[in-house]
Homo-oligomer: 350 residues x 2
């Protein structure tokens, strides 16, 4: 296919290699591997996981669960605080697949207990310091939710789930290991109190960087399948492991500012960025595309600004002079989950 | 329709009123009104414009031109540097509708001259200081492009087009008026040299705030149809004029941090934000939704953070206590163009 508009290139070899490494990591830790499919949201990429023996998956919405259930995935955890307004769809899903929900609220637990028409697993979300959602490990609401499950015909308490989002603003392995020690200390108390519970863990930085995740029963990383510039900055991956690039047509060239304008903006890449102290803002690295493959970033080139459809790339003059309108340049995204979400139809697996 | 997931509510009355005001402004200035449809990207909202007599429109991609051409729009300017890789689609479009392209490059002009199979108008993009794309008013390439048009069977020079993106980081009318005086001074020289050319202008802040736009021949604002929190901060609109809100289900409540978590994140709102000096970051204002309508923002409530699917709302305790999981809360978006782009199917015109 000839590329004529912003197109997500997905490198099948890198994807397969990223998956292999994570399968190995989970196996070594003795964990169930339940990858998060919110990053790719693609049945076609899902097939690569399936071919490698993955059967259990995580998603972040009921809609995403429906999308993958249609494709034959039948063991799905929705790792997002259960939205009781979607009870009709949840009941339809739970008839067809093994479904696990998640909550931090006994109000929601009680609603589910009364309104579920098929069996569903329930994870209680624990907040280990990210302060997004979840109960503290010593909250009395944990026992209330478990009690609700015990009295329910359809709602089955499965265990505890957390997401250490702090690791997305961490730099390097040491900080991530400190976060993990903190989290395990919290979880240890829960494990003592609830010995049969499943402990589900998952964020790409810790799953990529920490050697021993053997404390947990289940790992749910998602981003690792593609990685991105943010993960590279955290230290979770090498540049080589980034498995996606957005191919963008060059539409304007400004020699005096040494800038390329590409068709490829906020509606293709998302406005996620990395900011440095010196007022430097980075919306992506820039790569040369040849036969839909790319090498390491062009030295000194970066996406400096984004409008709705425009990307503005700064580039050294000797690199800039190689481009003319109608050429294709690649952008390594800052946050591949958001970029892939924006290009559901414009992608090529290469 | 009962809302169960993040849904864009579009207030038909506010949309109609915003359009009426801008039609009046253009008429008073003696300008053709060619609104930019990249904000709503909706045939249904397009119909509201059509009912008010609007026939000429602006879009920012060939795909968007195709979408609206399908719905009977037949006078379309693609106000984005022409992407020559889409020549096949451009030729198909130009067979069916009056099509205007835009460029700042004679390389592109020459390509179009050689490859167009139907007549197309061409605007030359002038950079009046925003430094995104466009030629300076005294660039020799202007004459080269015009000469290319003169020698072409199908490429017809129409005039000059600019977008003063500086106004999106301006605060208040005075700064925007200063920008306009600068721009008009530049355009005056072009008007002297090219007396028959069309001068096309368009950005929502100046079109909303400046009384007299009579220098121009054509106005292309887009965002005004919905407005948003960013435009409110610039001073382009009142809070009352913001015509869209995203209805989001409440999924988690944290009393100790006085926070609501809603189903509504970066994939619904976009990661656009407003940052203040004191480390305050704003991803949206918060409104109560009743019968799919909303009033002014809840005092002291704001969207403080966004993950892929989560929105984290800070709210005073006495407001927070009114909510429980399964309720709906509204978010006024920071940048309605990006939000509407993310919710193409989940919207209700109320």
């Amino acid at each position: 296919m000839k590329i004529s508009k912003p197109t997500l290139l997905i490198d099948r070899y890198k994807v397969a290699s990223n998956i292999d490494k994570m399968i190995k990591k989970a196996a070594e830790a003795g964990c169930v591997f339940r990858p998060h499919f919110k990053t790719h949201q693609s049945k076609e990429v899902g097939k690569i996981f399936r071919e490698k023996g993955v059967n259990e998956i995580t998603v972040s919405s009921v809609s995403m669960a429906e999308y993958f259930a249609e494709d034959g995935w039948n063991d799905i955890t929705i790792a997002f605080p259960c939205n009781i307004l979607e009870i009709y769809s949840i009941n339809n899903l739970a008839k067809e697949v093994e479904l696990n929900l998640m909550t931090d609220s006994n109000f929601t637990g009680d609603f589910l207990s009364k309104n579920l028409t098929s069996k569903c697993g329930l994870f209680i979300k624990i907040d280990i310091g990210y302060n997004r959602s979840g109960l503290e490990y010593n909250s009395p609401e944990i026992d209330e939710i478990i009690k609700t499950c015990e009295q329910s015909n359809n709602l089955i308490f499965k265990g505890f789930l957390t997401h250490d989002g702090r690791n997305y603003s961490a730099i390097g392995k040491a900080e991530i290991e400190r976060n993990l020690v903190e989290a395990i200390n919290i979880f240890k108390r829960l494990k003592q109190k609830y010995p049969g519970a499943i402990f589900s863990w998952g964020d790409t930085p810790s799953c990529s960087l920490v050697e021993d995740l053997g404390f947990f029963d289940e790992l749910r990383p998602g981003n690792f399948v593609y990685y991105d510039v943010m993960q590279y900055h955290i230290g979770s991956c090498s540049l080589d492991e980034i498995a996606v690039a957005v191919a963008c047509p060059v539409v304007s060239i400004n020699k005096s500012r040494s800038e390329l304008v590409v068709y490829g903006g906020a509606v293709h890449l998302s406005k996620e960025f990395i900011a440095a102290d010196n007022n430097f803002t980075l919306f992506g690295y820039v790569v040369n595309i040849e036969n839909n493959k790319w090498l390491n970033p062009i030295n000194g080139a970066y996406v400096a600004r984004l409008s709705q459809e425009h990307g503005i790339i700064k580039m050294p003059p000797k690199e800039l002079e190689k481009f003319k309108p109608g050429d294709i340049v690649g952008i390594l995204p800052i946050h591949s989950c958001l970029t892939a979400n924006l290009l559901p139809d414009n992608y090529i697996i290469v």
